[in-house]
Symmetry: C2
Subunit: 216 residues, 2 copies
């Protein structure tokens, strides 16, 4: 592979893509995610975001074409990161994991990604109902592979005979996503630790709230 000139080692600030512009760009994205997460899309002004990134509002336009381009990039980053974190946890389970183990892991990983990862993760969920239709549409298309992952886990579990067969799995999937995603509306740091919440949610979804004589 041919190294493009000038050689990276002559300019430390530019190696691995960390040019000044690139660093500022990321700082803006982080700042935007933080502001969007708290105030939502319409409630967030460019001056708020710029202030959070230690910039003037006009300077944002060197890095992003518009406020909408900025929000879309934040949301892509957030939803891709959530998906990636869930896939990583599933991969860590290894191929011998049962379908139910995979479901439990996915439930917990998704909630932890939303509650404890970057601001972009939760911002992308909070704003999905607030952004302009064209952006929303592109993001939903981008979620299809993630939706397929969940559909696959659920049908695998049913094929293995682990799931009751009197419920519609697409409704089940939306119920699970709702229980997990709605956490952006109520969770604050003092509501308990995310791992405990994730574990309880997984129990309720998979095993149900009802007490069982066998304690299962």
């Amino acid at each position: 592979m041919i190294e493009p000139a000038p050689a990276a080692w002559d300019n430390p600030a530019e190696d691995r893509g960390h040019t000044k512009a690139e660093l500022t760009r990321r700082r803006i994205l982080d700042a935007a995610a933080k502001v969007f997460r708290v105030r939502g899309f319409v409630g967030s002004r460019l001056t708020d975001i710029a202030a959070e990134a230690n910039l003037q509002a006009g300077s944002l336009y060197y890095h992003f074409a518009s406020r909408e381009a900025l929000v879309e990039e934040v949301m892509w980053a957030g939803q891709l990161r959530t998906e990636e974190q869930v896939r990583q946890q599933l991969a860590a389970l290894g191929p011998e994991a049962t379908p139910m183990q995979r479901l439990r892991t996915a439930v917990e990983a998704h909630l932890l990604a939303v509650l404890s990862s970057t601001d972009a993760n939760s911002a992308s969920i909070k704003m999905i109902g607030q952004v302009p239709p064209d952006i929303r549409e592109r993001l939903l298309v981008g979620q299809r592979a993630y939706g397929d992952l969940w559909r696959g886990m659920l049908t695998d579990a049913r094929d293995a005979g682990d799931l009751r067969d009197d419920v519609d799995l697409s409704i089940v999937r939306m119920a699970i996503m709702g229980a997990l995603n709605w956490s952006v509306e109520w969770y604050h740091a003092d509501k308990g630790n995310p791992e405990k919440i994730a574990a309880d949610m997984a129990v309720v979804m998979l095993d149900g709230l009802r007490r069982r004589p066998d304690g299962s």
Copy 2:
């Protein structure tokens, strides 16, 4: 009780509070709920709402002090109506219903209220994360009695020995509300009939997704 003059029967348009102004006011509230439900708080302009109500934007100010006053009244109406519909279904069960029957009924009634009742019901849920902090705070205070209803049903069920005792009931409550409320983000009329969705959600929450040997 003394009838205030002038007597209502002399002026049919005014009896039972149906003055012209009152009718227009309600038409505006309905129009606003419809627009808010689709576009959210920030995405809804007064001109959109006025057009939906067959009025000019300026005319809204005869009936409401501000856009915020309008959205707050829509949301109050929506959340009170949802609460009322749930309480009615619970009351219809009669006093001999078991705690689990009451929980199942409440889950189904809440979802049906959100999916099939007025636009205000779903708009109030969709916008809770979008309105200014002072409005949001008042609405959340107004939800406390409803939250208490759910807390009471859950603790009653646990006290009756029907619920597993290894999960935090406040987390369970938020999981249930999330699964139900998130439906405003994905439900469209072609997604199946609300009664079936409500029944499946209740099954998943209460009995769990896992197949049981006894088929319960």
